[in-house]
């Protein structure tokens, strides 16, 4: 067990190390997240009266689009110099490689979310930095990173790969995003976590189901 986690951790550390050297993916995701909020601001003319209703949707759409940017780069980087083959040749279980890549993607997304939330709070004039929202963000991002990592390993090997990832991912992730938006809207309207429990249950159920499916099928996606 401990050697399994060493392998997972080696993959996570490698991704973080490479990212910290260039900071390309993180800065791209961050700029995109902010851009999305600006665009929504102009498009919907967010005002004090309606911002509370629109903010959860704006926030999650921005997170999801930025997440796709990060996911797209995740396996295209591996495909670049054949590194994925190098990884697959190591005597490490392929599901562990999935876990490593997934955790790396999750960490990048959560880092972007953590920076974006205070900025959103200021721009939208809403208190979004709260522990209940943080919990919803973690649950929502976990499932998104889970199934997104599987699909990005798939699309890195297809034609039109940058376009294919969102096409595959968005419809499958929609129930998750929907639940996250509803739960966020609920707690923003003053509901307790217990009162949005049905949405949280959907989030948790989605996370469990899709992490399991991805963990079990990753091997088939990377074999050739």
């Amino acid at each position: 067990m401990s050697s399994a986690w060493q392998a997972v951790w080696a993959v996570v550390k490698k991704d973080i190390l490479a990212e910290l050297r260039t900071k390309e993916t993180l800065s791209m995701m961050l700029i995109f997240v902010l851009l999305a909020v600006f665009i929504f601001n102009f498009a919907f003319d967010l005002r004090v009266e309606n911002v509370r209703e629109v903010a959860p949707g704006v926030m999650w759409v921005a997170f999801v689009f930025a997440g796709v940017l990060g996911l797209n780069r995740s396996f295209i980087q591996e495909a670049d110099k054949g590194c994925l083959d190098g990884l697959l040749m190591t005597p490490v279980d392929r599901s562990l490689i999935y876990l490593g890549k997934m955790l790396g993607n999750l960490i990048f997304m959560l880092a972007v979310d953590a920076i974006a939330l205070p900025v959103f709070s200021v721009l939208l004039n809403l208190a979004l930095v709260r522990w209940d929202i943080a919990l919803i963000v973690v649950l929502g991002t976990l499932g998104f990173a889970g199934v997104g990592t599987l699909f990005s390993a798939m699309t890195a090997n297809t034609r039109a790969r940058e376009v294919m990832l969102p096409l595959l991912l968005f419809p499958v992730a929609l129930p998750l995003v929907l639940a996250a938006v509803k739960a966020t809207a609920g707690v923003l309207d003053g509901a307790s976590l217990g009162e949005v429990a049905n949405w949280l249950n959907l989030l948790i159920g989605y996370d469990v189901v899709f992490l399991t499916i991805s963990y079990l099928t990753f091997d088939y996606v990377v074999e050739s």
Binding site: V147, L150, M154, N157, T158, R159, A160, M164, L167, L168, P171, V172, L174, P175, L178, N198, Y206, V209, F210, I213, S214, T217, Y220, V221, E223, S224
Partner: protein, 228 residues
């Protein structure tokens, strides 16, 4: 390459499916009583429920065939998964259109973003993407594997769609509840006949579609042997 469904049994089955669909038409249009509140427009319900059932069932078959493909790597399971998505998508579209036709007089709108309709839209999108995914992958082995993974992951939308009217408050009617159904006996008979008829039609179409794919494989192989 082996072939499925060639011969007398298949021809008998296609004939049976045709007769069953005609019977179902009669049951829905003539046999079933006129519904008191909605009038004749309610009769669309027999197609709507039957095609919905076949659509869901077809995607379930795709799930099973996809798992079987990943386990065995046999081309025939890939063919079943693909064929079932194509047929299921056709039935799911019919379900959506008939639902919409019914909704116009009853709800006074073609479409509304309530839970059942939203989840159905997502489901249609997922299986349309399944077909798109197959087109952008050149290597057939990889195409089959990726499609199988997507066929498994995408299936999660099916139970969500099915449960949508039970989990959330919605204006979509719920016919089958744990307590029983809201149907008169004659209506129930008409519904059962419709569901059986369109299920038979599904089996018959699945046979034809898989056979077509086997033949196309054979033709490709013959063409290749000519090239050499």
């Amino acid at each position: 390459m082996e072939r499925w469904g060639v011969g007398k049994i298949a021809i008998f089955l296609h004939g049976l499916a045709g007769a069953a669909v005609l019977t179902a038409l009669y049951m829905a249009l003539v046999f079933a009583p006129r519904e008191a509140a909605m009038g004749d427009v309610q009769r669309i319900f027999y197609w709507h429920v039957a095609t919905a059932w076949v659509g869901f069932f077809a995607f379930f078959i795709t799930l099973i065939a996809s798992i079987a493909y990943l386990r065995t790597g046999r081309r025939r399971w890939d063919i079943v998964a693909l064929s079932s998505v194509e047929i299921g998508l056709a039935f799911a579209v019919i379900m959506t259109v008939t639902g919409s036709l019914w909704a116009k007089p009853v709800w006074n709108t073609w479409w509304t973003w309530e839970p059942r309709l939203t989840t159905v839209a997502i489901m249609l999108l997922i299986y349309a993407t399944y077909l798109l995914l197959r087109r952008v992958i050149e290597d057939p082995g990889r195409r089959a594997r990726f499609a199988a993974v997507y066929g498994i992951a995408g299936f999660v939308s099916v139970p969500i769609t099915f449960m949508a009217i039970r989990w959330w408050r919605t204006i979509h009617p719920v016919i089958f509840k744990s307590e029983g159904f809201d149907l008169s006996p004659a209506m129930l008979v008409a519904l059962i006949v419709s569901v059986a008829a369109y299920s038979l039609l599904y089996v018959s179409l699945l046979l034809l579609r898989t056979q077509l794919e086997f033949l196309s494989d054979e033709a490709a192989e013959l063409r290749e042997s000519l090239d050499e």
